[in-house]
């Protein structure tokens, strides 16, 4: 042996003692579940935005058919009134069939000619400067027989409440996943320390600082967190992809939602993928910070 010979120094903590395979598997599952929860959050957020923007752009005027009234004349009066209202950008009187079609789920496709189906007027409004709905409703009721204004506000409020409940549920799931991950990392840290108790005693007695010993161990947790995070996201994206393939295009449901998540326009996709791929980073940070804090705390209990 010569002095110039290069030695390869071995790892101070033996890699085969208490391997972190079990933690990698469980962290992967946690990251996968986190991806699904994040995917659900993104889809809920986008759906709510789409519903509410559609609803807030439009209002509907309903003109009920009244006996002893010229309904076509009333309809025309309503149209004129709406067209002259400040904040209204477009007025479209829907055909009688449109109203009948809306009632189809309840009344079927039979002959509805004898029924007094209300006529509907779709009113597009200026979102930035909408009309005074209270005044418009009063004006309509005063001037047009059988008219009423539906601003969809109640429906929009219901949707928003439901979406908020789902979002809160998703956040709660994410919080539970994070807490479980932290608990698992603490448990794994204790296992690694117990398995290497002799090594750690020797390191202490030759003058190693707690931070030095912790660094020898937490670098493994860093790798574990990152690997599990990438695997979890990979599985999550694969799941959305397979769900996207499982249904026909435009049929709605989970399949369409999954396709919408994966193949969104670039400005939305950047956000979606950005949030999904934050999972490995968060998993790495959880593993690293938790194991470091647990290690320092546990090492301090050893003289």
């Amino acid at each position: 042996m010569t002095r110039s010979k290069k030695f390869r120094t071995g790892p101070i903590i033996p890699p085969e003692a208490a391997p972190l395979r079990a933690l990698t598997v469980t962290m992967t599952v946690m990251c996968y579940l986190a991806c699904l929860a994040i995917g659900a959050l993104i889809l809920i957020d986008r759906a709510v935005e789409s519903w509410t923007s559609g609803l807030s752009r439009e209002v509907t005027v309903q003109v009920r058919l009244m006996q002893n009234a010229d309904n076509d004349k009333e309809l025309a009066k309503a149209k004129v009134l709406l067209e002259t209202t400040v904040g209204v950008t477009n007025v479209e009187v829907l055909e009688r069939e449109a109203g009948a079609k809306l009632l189809e789920p309840w009344l079927g496709t039979g002959n509805l000619d004898d029924l007094p189906i209300p006529r509907l007027i779709r009113v597009t409004i200026n979102e930035t400067a909408p009309p005074d709905f209270v005044a418009l409703d009063k004006q309509l009721k005063k001037s047009v027989s059988g008219a009423s204004l539906d601003t969809h506000r109640r429906w929009e409020a219901e949707l928003t409440r439901m979406a908020r409940a789902l979002s809160t549920l998703s956040y709660a799931i994410l919080a539970l996943i994070a807490i479980s991950a932290i608990a698992m990392v603490i448990f794994a840290t204790r296992t690694v320390l117990d398995a290497n108790r002799q090594v750690i005693d020797v390191l202490h007695l030759v003058g190693a600082k707690d931070s030095y010993i912790a660094h020898q161990i937490d670098s493994r947790f860093l790798r574990t967190g990152f690997t599990a995070g990438l695997l979890g996201v990979g599985l999550g994206v694969l799941t959305f992809f397979l769900l996207g393939l499982s249904g026909t295009m435009g049929a709605g449901g989970v399949a369409d939602a999954s396709r919408g998540l994966l193949f969104a326009p670039p400005e939305i996709a950047v956000w979606s993928y950005g949030i999904l791929f934050s999972v490995p980073i968060i998993a790495t940070v959880i593993c690293l910070v938790t194991s470091r804090m647990a290690l320092i705390r546990m090492l301090r209990s050893v003289l």
Binding site: R3, F7, T9, G10, I12, V199, L203, L205, V206, G207
Partner: protein, 218 residues
């Protein structure tokens, strides 16, 4: 260097292992601690290498009261102390070279900065050819020498050894004693715990005798 005043030690609620132990080690001195098995020699050494805290009494090492030493200061004090454990406590997953270099490595030194020093020391203790061998394949004497090399590689001011010749034949025991005396001649304070009275008679140092936890000057 080291001062103990009325030190007592007990494990949990058990009997007192050390009773009113008091002594002073001069810097650069060589001292033997003798006594039969179970007298408390290892416990006394564990107090000195700061692996235990006394139940009562005062221990000052390098002019520091060990009861006042903070967690942050503890490694810095331990780096000034070399320890040879009775059971060697080499790390089986590291080569002899890595085991010997461990105190330097934990100080943050790079391998290329200490390689030559470690190889010189391994040569000095006769383990140059075993540098890349792992402890499980070393003989008892080789492990003992590797443990001694690890204890002295960082040039400690105080060297503590617990039965350093307990697992070797008389010839090797004599060689190891000469090694400790050489280190002492170079300025290291050496404190050896042994029940081998023949070894004590060959060394030129003061002797403390421990019996049933009570220290007596021999």
């Amino acid at each position: 260097m080291v001062r103990l005043d009325s030190v007592g030690l007990r494990y949990g609620d058990g009997p007192e292992i050390l009773k009113d132990v008091s002594f002073y080690l001069q810097p650069g001195s060589l001292c033997f601690l003798t006594g039969p098995s179970g007298a408390g020699k290892t416990s006394l050494l564990r107090l000195l290498f700061l692996a235990l805290k006394p139940t009562r009494g005062l221990i000052r090492i390098f002019d520091k009261d060990v009861s006042q030493v903070s967690r942050w200061e503890l490694p810095l004090l331990r780096r000034r102390i070399g320890v040879v454990f009775q059971e060697f406590r080499l790390l089986d997953h590291l080569t002899t070279f890595d085991n010997v270099a461990l105190p330097l490595r934990v100080m943050g030194q790079r391998e290329d900065s200490y390689r030559a020093d470690v190889m010189d020391l391994l040569k000095w203790v006769g383990l140059e050819d075993q540098a890349q061998a792992y402890p499980p394949v070393l003989s008892g004497g080789e492990k003992q020498r590797a443990a001694i090399a690890r204890a002295v590689i960082s040039k400690p001011e105080l060297l503590l050894a617990d039965e350093p010749t307990g697992n070797v034949d008389p010839v090797l025991a004599k060689r190891l004693l000469h090694l400790f005396m050489e280190l002492n001649r170079l300025g290291t304070t050496v404190f050896l715990a042994t029940h081998d009275l023949k070894l004590v008679s060959q060394g030129k140092g003061s002797v403390l005798h421990l019996e049933k936890g009570i220290l007596k000057a021999a």
